[in-house]
């Protein structure tokens, strides 16, 4: 049976927040990458089979998303999502954070651990690697950055199609929002490692074995900081595990969330 998606807009913190939802039973918030997201992806469909999937568009990310001029940090986004869930009466939602969205998920955990279910962090940003750097989007092209999300860069075109002006402008707008919220320090928090030590939620840390965006050591840093985390590595996969190996990620996440 095809998944039915519902689109809605909610006023949160004075900003219009767009949300896509599908499925029922346990609420699971999926937080997308810094390059924005397509509305429908096989991973989202797979997760909606067994959960009530809630996918907000980060405010300002994408061609049509209203820009919140006031927003200055990842914690602002996390707080907004917390308020949205509270207003909707959604409690103890699971969180799945993809790359940049993983950082938002981690911040959300630290804000309300008792009101968070289980957490899946996939190639998550937010931690400062010690031996390498998080890939700096500011110095690479829009397509080069998005293609770097994949172990097999040809998969980029399979997912996104051939590049056109709208796709590129969308990437540019997402990049501007990433700059507005995560410019300095670039793509990590200096306080998150400490805060995470008291986030006791069960956490699954998933990393592609060829993540060219966030160094693999960050998986271990998350596992070291979080009291209740374990790691899974997906073989032959880059940063965007959700887009490159959607079935494997869905299987890992579903087994973990439903255990």
């Amino acid at each position: 049976m095809p998944i039915e998606w519902k689109e809605s807009t909610h006023k949160v913190a004075g900003t219009n927040l767009r949300v896509m939802e599908a499925g029922s039973s346990s609420p699971t918030v999926i937080l997308h990458h810094d390059i924005g997201t397509l509305d429908k992806l096989p991973f989202y469909e797979a997760m909606a089979v067994n959960s009530h999937v809630i996918i907000p568009t980060h405010p300002g990310w994408g061609l049509t998303s209203e820009r919140p001029e006031w927003m200055r940090s990842i914690r602002d986004i996390a707080a907004m999502y917390r308020m949205h869930l509270a207003e909707q009466g959604v409690t103890k939602a699971n969180l799945i954070g993809l790359g940049f969205g993983g950082w938002i998920a981690a911040e959300m955990m630290t804000m309300a651990p008792a009101d968070t279910g289980k957490v899946v962090l996939v190639g998550a940003m937010g931690m400062q690697p010690k031996d390498a750097y998080i890939l700096d989007m500011a110095i690479v092209g829009y397509l080069d950055y998005a293609r770097a999300f994949f172990h097999d860069e040809a998969k980029f075109t399979d997912v996104y199609g051939e590049p056109d002006g709208d796709m590129l402008e969308g990437f540019d707008i997402c990049r501007e929002m990433s700059f507005r919220t995560a410019w300095k320090p670039y793509m990590f928090s200096q306080t998150l490692p400490n805060l995470l030590q008291s986030a006791t939620n069960e956490t699954l840390v998933v990393w592609g074995d060829d993540d060219k965006v966030v160094p693999a050591e960050c998986a271990d840093l998350f596992c070291a900081a979080l009291p209740n985390a374990r790691k899974e590595v997906v073989a032959g996969c880059g940063h965007a595990v959700d887009m490159e190996k959607p079935d494997e990620l869905a299987a890992l996440a579903s087994a973990f969330l439903n255990a």
Binding site: A138, Y142, L143, L168, F171, R175
Partner: protein
């Protein structure tokens, strides 16, 4: 009319082949290609050029700064301004300008500029710019807040110069709880501010609203006229009539004893592979957030190979035909500049005299001919055309000091 000499201070001794191989001569092009021995020689040659400029009667030196690139060796224009304050006596020191958004503390900038103004005995023109796209990255400054930082830093700068301290500023990007610099400018209310630019509409609007002169950087005659038309329309909205005192023009002009030699040296204006600022990388030169998404789109598409370079590429011959590059003997140059002056009517004219690998000897010849033969003739033309500089026109330093507004001055945004 203010008549100025400008050079980008080219790092002509860099390895061009390496730049071509790398595919860009900016931001990430390694500084291993910078030779400090050559740098030392060149810096001192530029000082020699500026001293000669004063000797031969040029009104001022225009200074600028750029980062991480061979096309311009000045990494801090205030350093050369300080040197000129001490080694020259009469010339205007024209900063075009300090990239305000790159400053993490505009109060310190206010102090530096005030010192330069006092040491030079009031010869400073304190131009300001947003800085190029790649400059933001070179300084680690967020391009998405470039314009906000520019406007906020300008507010701090002018408040620090004009208000009795201690004062306080708590803004979006800058928080200075104690502003009380014990160095304030000699010129009152503050040194003139000029704003250079290529064509950014937002900057033209901003400059016109402040009543700051806008200096068009090597734009074509037609583009320049459009800029003035736009500036003038904003001025009318604000309540004043703009004139030559609101208009500056920078143009690449090489002067020599013979036309042949002048042409040979003028070709050096294209020494950075024919590009204004060298081989650019569209992602670095127009970073996300630096301008509006619709303005950026053409560059974004260009960066992905979906369209041609929006800046276009013109040949040397075309640039000469468009009078964007001028060369010749003094008489030839005066004749060409006269057409530009008649058509665009600026009150400030800056000649970008030497670039690339033009020898020091030829650079000095160009400056001598500029000061002794070209500028005296231009001064006469300017008188005939009634092209007054901001000082000659006794123009207010800022809109708020105007006494001729047709309606009450609104606070400039």
């Amino acid at each position: 009319m203010d008549l100025l000499y400008f050079t980008e201070q080219p790092m002509s001794a860099y390895d061009e082949e390496a730049g071509r191989d790398f595919g860009a001569t900016a931001l990430m092009f390694s500084n291993k290609h910078f030779d400090p021995k050559e740098g030392s020689r060149l810096y001192n040659e530029f000082i020699e050029q500026y001293k000669l400029a004063e000797e031969v009667g040029i009104d001022g030196i225009m200074l600028n700064e750029h980062h991480n690139a061979p096309f311009c060796m000045q990494a801090k224009a205030n350093i050369f301004a300080s040197i000129l304050a001490a080694v020259t006596e009469k010339m205007k020191i024209v900063m075009l300008g300090n990239p305000l958004p790159l400053s993490e503390n505009p109060v310190r900038l206010a102090e530096e500029l005030a010192m330069i103004d006092m040491i030079s005995k009031g010869r400073l023109v304190s131009g300001i710019v947003r800085g190029g796209g790649q400059e933001q990255l070179a300084a680690g400054v967020n391009p998405a807040y470039n314009r906000e930082r520019f406007e906020e830093a300008h507010e701090i700068l002018t408040r620090a110069w004009t208000e009795e301290g201690p004062i306080r500023h708590e803004g979006k990007h800058y928080q200075n709880r104690v502003i009380n610099p014990w160095a304030v400018p000699l010129q009152k209310p503050y040194p003139r501010i000029w704003v250079p630019g290529v064509i950014s509409k937002e900057t033209i609007v901003w400059a016109a609203k402040q009543r700051y002169p806008y200096v068009a950087l090597n734009t074509s005659i037609e583009e320049t006229k459009k800029i003035w038309e736009f500036y003038d329309s904003i001025a009318e909205e604000v309540g004043y009539t703009a004139g030559p005192e609101n208009r500056g023009y920078l143009i690449q002009t090489h002067i020599s004893d013979t036309e042949e030699k002048a042409e040979q040296n003028a070709r050096q204006f294209r020494w950075m592979q024919g590009e204004f600022t060298g081989l650019a990388h569209p992602v670095w030169s127009t970073p996300s957030g630096y301008s509006s998404p619709s303005n950026r789109r053409a560059f974004v598409e260009f960066s992905a190979g979906l369209r041609q370079n929006p800046r276009g590429r013109t040949t040397f011959e075309q640039q000469v035909a468009d009078k964007r590059i001028i060369f010749g003997t003094p008489d030839q140059v005066v004749a060409k500049l006269k057409i530009i002056l008649e058509q665009t009517r600026p009150g400030i004219l800056s000649l970008w005299g030497n670039d690339g690998k033009v020898s020091q000897e030829d650079s000095l010849t160009c400056i001598r001919l500029m000061g002794e033969e070209v500028f005296p003739a231009i001064r006469e033309i300017a008188k005939e055309l009634d092209l007054k500089s901001p000082d000659e026109a006794n123009a207010p330093v800022h809109l708020k000091y105007s006494t001729d507004l047709r309606k009450p001055a609104v606070a400039a945004e």
